[in-house]
Amino acid sequence: MAVETLSKTKAPSAVPATMDFNWKTAGRIGFIGGILAVLVSVIGMVETFDGRDIIGGVISMGQTVVVALIFATAFMAADRSSKTSPLFHILGGGLSGLISAVMLALFVWVSQLVNLREIFVNVSPSLIAILTFDKELPAELSAAVIQLLLTGLVLGVVAGVLRAAPIKIRNIIFSGMLWVVAIGLLGELIRTLVTGRAIEDQVAWVLGGRLEKGLSVNGAVSIFIFASLLSFISQTFGARIGKEVQTRRAALPATTQRILNGVILLVVFLVLWQLPQYLGLYLSDVANTVGLYILMGLGLNIVVGFAGLLDLGYVAFFAIGAYVMGVATSSAVGDGRGQILFSLNWTFWEALPLAILVALFAGILLGIPVLKMRGDYLAIVTLGFGEIIRIMALSDYLKPNIGGAQGIVGIQPIILAGQNLSNPISLFHVVLIACVIVGFVAWRLRDSRVGRAWKAIREDEDVAAAMGINLVSTKLLAFGAGAAFSGLAGAIFASKLTSIQPGSFSFIVSINILALIIIGGMGSIPGVLVGALALVALPELLREFAEFRLLVYGVVLVMMMLYKPEGLLPEETHKAELHEDENIPAESHA
C-alpha cells in the first residue's frame, strides 16, 4: 500500500514532463485514420456522398466523411498521446492528422502511377479530384499533395487544441459542428417541406435557395452559433432546470401527474396526426415504412427485449400477416400466366383479424418446439423458420394458393366508409393508430405480472421457473404477442402495396428489426421509435447511404457495443418502491 502511493506520487516528478509525449501512439492512430480515409475512398463512399453538399460550394458530404475520420482519429490520438500537457495534446493531434494526410497523399500519388481502377473500380478521376481539391493532375500533383498534408496537419492541430481545451468549450464546439452537419445533410428534406410556405425565404437564407445544394455559408455560421449557444445554455443551466422540473413534477399529486402525462401524449398524438399534410406524398410514404418497422420492432421487442428469446426469423410472421391479407382480399390469385384461380374478395377489415390470429398461432406453433432452446440454438432455429416461410412462399407447391415467385396482386386497399385509405397520407393515420395501440399494449404489459415474468425469464430462466413462473405459457405468450404485432404490420403492408412477392420477406428484414432494437435499447419502448428513425428513416432520406447500408449498420453496431451497449434510449427502471406520498429518508440517493 505504502509502496503504491509512493510510486504514484513520485511518477510525475521522477519522469520529466517531456517524456510524457507518446508519439508512437499518436502515429499509430494517425495511421489507422489514414487507412480508414483511404478505405472509404476506395469503396466509393466518398464519391457517392460527394453529390450532397453540407455547405454549398464549400464542403460536400463525401469530403466531410474524410475530414471527420481524420479529425476523429486525431482527437483520439491527442487524447491518448499525453496525459498532462496541453501542448502534447496539440502535438499528438497534429502528428496524427499529418500521418493520415500522408496516407491519403500516398494513395493519390499511387493512383497517378498505377491504374488502380483495374482492381478498385471506384478509384475514378473524379474521386482523386475530390481528394486533391480539384487540382489539375498530374501537373499540379506536388501542390495538391502539399495542400493535402497541410489540411491534415491543420485538422489534427485543431483536434488537438479542442482536446486541450476545457471540456465545456469542447462540447459547445462539437455540438455546433454536429448540428451544421446534421442540418446540412437534411437540407434537401427541409427545403421540400417548406416549399411554397410562408417561411420559404427565411429558410432559403439558411439553407440556400431551392436550386442550390447544402447550407449557405451564412446559414452554416448561424446554425453553428445557434447550436453552440444552445449547448452552452443547456450545459450551464440544463442540469439545474431539468432537476427543477423533475422535482416540481414529483411534488404534484399522482393524479395531476397522470393528467399531465396524458395531455403531453395527446398533444404529441395530435401533432403527429397533422404531420402528413406537411410531409407530402413521398415523406408520408417514408413515415409509413418507419411506422411498419415500429410495429414490428415493438413486437420483436417483446420477444427479444422483454423475454430475451433471440428470434432471427421474425420476418416470417410479417410474411404470414401479409399473405393472409393477400389471399383473403385479393381479387385474383392467379397462376402467374393470366389465369385467375380463385378470389375470396374479403375486405381489409374482415381479413385483418384473421391475419393477426394466424400470425399469433404461427408464433405459438414456432414457440412449442423451441421451448427448451436458449441463446444461439434458439437463434438458429428461428432463423431457419424465417427462411422456411419465405421458401414456402416461393415454392411451386403452394403456387396455386399464394402465387409463387410472382406473389399476389390485386390485394384490396384499406377502405373505410367509402374512402380509400391506402394512399400514403391516409395510410399514415392507419399506421399511427396501429402503432399507438400496439405501443400501448406493450407498455401496459411491461409493468405487469406478465412483463415481470418475461423479464425474469430473460435474466435467468431456471430461477424464473423456481419462482413459480410457468415457462411454457409465459414463453408462448411472448412469441404469440410478438408474432401478432408483426402479423398486423404485414397485413397493413400488403394492403399498402396491394401486391406482395416473397422477395419482400427476406432475412435482412429480420436483421433490420433486430438492429433497430439493439440501437434503440433492448427492452425499451421509446428505443424502438428512435431505432426505427435512425435505421429506417435516415437511410431512406439519405439515399446515398442505401448503397452502404450494411457497412454503416456494421460500423454503427460495433460503435454501439463499444460505447453505448445499453442503446440510445435504454430501458428505464420503473420506480416502484418510493412514491411521492411516502416519506422515506433518501439515504440511498446520497
Binding site: F440, V441, R444, L445, S448, R449, V450, G451, R452, A453, K455, A456, R458, E459, D460, D462, V463, A464, A465, A466, M467, G468, I469, N470, L471, L477, A481, T573, H574, K575, A576, E577, L578, I584, P585, A586, E587, S588
Partner: protein, 270 residues
Amino acid sequence: MTSTLIAKGVTKRFGGLVAVNNLDFEIPEKSISSIIGPNGAGKTTFFNCITGFYNPEEGTILFDGHEIQGLAPDRVTRLGASRTYQNIRLFANMTAIENVLVGQHPQMKNGFFDAVFRTPRFNREEKAAVEEARRLLRFVGLRGMGDTLARNLPYGAQRRLEIARALANKPKLLLLDEPTAGMNPNETGELTAFIRDLRDTLGITILLIEHDMRVVMGISEQITVLDYGSKIAEGKPTDIQSNPSVIEAYLGRGAASGLKSAKQTTKEPS
C-alpha cells in the same frame, strides 16, 4: 410432530456417478435443519431434487402431503417451497422490488388482458403486491433500496434480497443454499439471527446447506451429514460434533482418531 418434508430412498445419478444415494430424510415442521458434508457430497443435488430442477431416478419426496419428485420447478414452488442459491442468482437487471414482485408471481392471478385493460383485479392485486414487496424489503433490512438494480446492491444486501424474494412466495419450506457464503463474521452473525427470527415469527420450516460450522451448530435443531451422496449421520448438533464418521468424512481416517480426544476437551458450548 408432523414432518414438512419426507424423502424416501431418493437416488440421483449422473451417468455412472451416484450423486444422491438412497437417501431417507425428514424435516419436522417449523424446525431449522441443516445438511452438511464435504464438497461434492450431494447436498445441492439433493436441493435440486426437492425443488424440481432434477428428477430423481428413484425414491419419493413428500412435501406437505404432495408427492413432488419429478414435478416442474414452478409446480413445486406453487406448493410452497422457496429456495435461494449457493452463488446468488438474482434477476440482476431488475430492481430489488421487481425481484420481490416476481417472487409473488404464484400468489397473483392477473394475466394478459388484466394487464392491458388495467382491470379492477389488476389494480387491486398490483397494489397489494407492491405493498407486500415493500414490507418484505423492510423486513430483510433493505428499506429504501427497492428501486436499485439488483446487480448494484452490495453483496450482503443481495443475499438478503434473495431471501426476501424467496419469502414473497409465502413458503412453508425455505431452502437456503449456503446463505452465509462470502460473508464476514459480523454479517454472518446478523444473518443467523435473521434466519432464526424467520422461523420464530413466520413459522417457516427451514432447511440449510451450510459450510460455516458455527452457523450450523448455532441454529440447527437437526443436522444431516452427507458424504458421497449417502447419509452418514443425523442428529442434534452435539451428537454430530462427536460423531467419528463425520470427522472422518471431513478430515480423513487418520485425523478422526487423533481428533477425537482433542475434541472432547475443547468442546464449544453451542
